[in-house]
Amino acid sequence: MHDIAPEAVQFIDLSLTTITFLFIVGFIGGLVSGFIGSGGAFVLTPGMMSLGVPGAVAVASNMCHKFPKALVGAYKRWKYGQVDIKLGLVMAASAGVGVQIGIMIQEWILKQWGEAGSNLYVSLSFVVILVVVGGYVFYDAYKTQKAGGGEQTNPLARWLQSINLPPMMHFKTANLRISMWFTIPIGFATGMLAATIAVGGFIGVPGMIYVLGASGLVASATELVIAFVMGFGGSVKWAINGMVDIRLTLIILAGSLLGVQLGAIGTTYVKEHMIKTVMGTIMIIVAVSRGLAVPKYLKQLGVISLEESTISLLMGASFIIMCIALGVGALIILGSMWRAKRAETAAEAALALDKGYS
């Protein structure tokens, strides 16, 4: 995975299309990650690769934009009192271990079944995890919305919080007390997923909500801390190998720093279950997208036979659906922000009218 010599890496020439694409995807990805704690990477990496960027450079440049974006987003949401730094750091520490194990598994699969096997493993993990976890997140958001919007701690989280297994840890902002032993697997799984599909937040945020018992708001904000720590570590590693294309990174960063702040502001406008709705929706659409990529890898492994044109059609559809996932997420965020802002303006206007007496 890391054995590509820097000299052999081809850095692409920038065109206006490339710059526009990266800027817009950066902005939308930033918006989504400011809101739900992660996102964007799953479109950016394949997107950059389709522009001709070598895989390693795409991953490296993407990661190098991720941690400053997460830093800015986390700072903004910390100012809103949504970030539990302690929880973030504890999770990040165990996630670091998870990443190493995840990479080891990847390398082992690569050695056993080659690149197609590795890709199949990645796609299948995507589909299985996203369908199961995303489906539950979406169901829970739907349930909360129907019940009127009030979030309640999950029964599993309540049960785990009641188990007194030292060392117990108290997380002030998340307002929960839980044994350290239950936070470790969540962080570990986040790291494993980050190493596999590059979006650890899809496990980290639901894990913090449903297993540890944090609110959607705190979980998504804390995920940004985890993303910063992990992204920073990863970027240093990639930069030492000379893989970071700073031009690509900076263009994505230009869009995503605008987006991440808008997303963070968005969380203060909308009802809490909106975070779950957006996350669930994106996860399920991404799962469909990755599901479409599975036949290609099955064919490469010789399990099934398919026409080449069908494969390219499926891959095209897969990428477009991936973009749709991000777009839909962004639309839901902007739409609900717009509605909330309009309601607020109307209320302020009514109050001002009420006040005018002289």
């Binding site: 820097p6 890496v9 850095f11 190098c64 934009h65 941690f67 400053p68 974006k69 830093l71 800015v72 700072y75 903004k76 809103y80 009192g81 920073f232 970027s235 240093v236 930069a239 030492i240 190998n241 000379g242 893989m243 970071v244 294309d245 700073i246 031009r247 990174t249 900076l250 960063l253 230009a254 720093l257 605008l258 702040q261 808008l262 502001i265 203060t268 406008y269 802002k341 607020e344 009420d354 006040k355 007496y357 002289s358």
Partner: protein, 278 residues
């Protein structure tokens, strides 16, 4: 705690004794006594205290469950002496009339928020006007003075706190943060925007050199890391101010605070007092 309650009850008794009793009789204990609400005295030098000061006072009164007395003092027409001409009487009448009109508007406005408001018009110096009002009205807890009135002017022999609203932020300063879409934010947006543009220009105009050193690996790895940090600070600040300048910022009630208890419709609750059942 007990001492405190006793002290309050003692004060209550004193007040009851000092107040003129309309009906004194053996059956008085059984009848509910008229409740006297606590009051804030708002002092202004014009026909009515400024809008901002009144907004602040009405907000405060609503939250505390107090009533308001708006005192309009005309210091210019105060001294009655040899030179007090009929024209000055006319001016006084005119001032009183205008003050009453303004007072009625204030009353309506306060009534919307469930706050009782009484308007008083006085002539002469502030100190004696406040003293007089204080004598006539029981339970004035403190005084809010409009900008430009010094505490010394108001508080002579009285022993009640006087607060001055400085500037004209009044209600806005209390209810929400002042509108920050001023030139400061726009200036910062432009400043950080320029700095961001310079940084981007610096990198993209020297792409070859930058790419040569930044992809060398090993210790040169610090270059891209430091660069993205620098960009995230400058560009991050720029985008922060940009959204703020565009009016997109978090509403003030971000932190869910324990909301204050809703004000009951009947605000005058009977106060605890000792009674002897006979």
């Amino acid at each position: 705690m007990l001492n405190f309650i006793k002290k309050i009850q003692g004060k209550e008794r004193d007040r009851e004794e000092n107040s003129p009793r309309q009906e004194a009789g053996p059956d008085q204990e059984a009848r509910p006594k008229p409740e006297v609400s606590r009051k804030i005295l708002v002092v202004g030098k014009g026909e009515a205290p400024d809008v901002e000061v009144m907004d602040y006072a009405v907000n405060l009164a609503e939250r505390l469950g107090y009533d308001l007395i708006a005192l309009s003092v005309n210091t210019a027409l105060g001294q009655k002496g040899r030179f007090f001409t009929p024209y000055k009487y006319h001016l006084r009448e005119k001032f009183t009339h205008r003050a009453r009109v303004a007072g009625e508007a204030l009353q309506k406005k306060a009534a919307l928020r469930g706050v009782g408001l009484e308007q008083v018009v006085k002539f002469g110096d502030l100190r004696s006007a406040v003293l007089e009002v204080h004598r006539q009205n029981k339970r004035i807890e403190f005084v809010i003075a409009q900008n430009g009135i010094k505490e010394k002017e108001v508080n002579g022999d009285l022993n009640i706190p006087v607060f001055t609203i400085t500037g004209y932020q009044g209600e806005r300063a209390m209810a929400k943060e002042a509108d920050s879409r001023g030139s400061g934010v726009i200036g910062k947006t432009v400043g950080f925007g320029l700095a961001t543009a310079i940084l981007y220009a610096a990198v993209f105009m020297n792409t070859e050199t930058v790419m040569h050193y930044f992809t060398k690996g090993a210790w040169y790895a610090a270059l891209p890391i430091v660069t993205v940090f620098a960009f995230s600070f400058v560009h991050g600040a720029f985008s922060n101010y940009l959204w703020e300048a565009l009016g997109i910022q978090a509403p003030k009630r971000v932190q869910p605070r324990p909301s204050a208890a809703k004000r009951p419709v009947a605000r005058r609750r009977p106060r605890p007092e000792l009674r002897i059942n006979t």
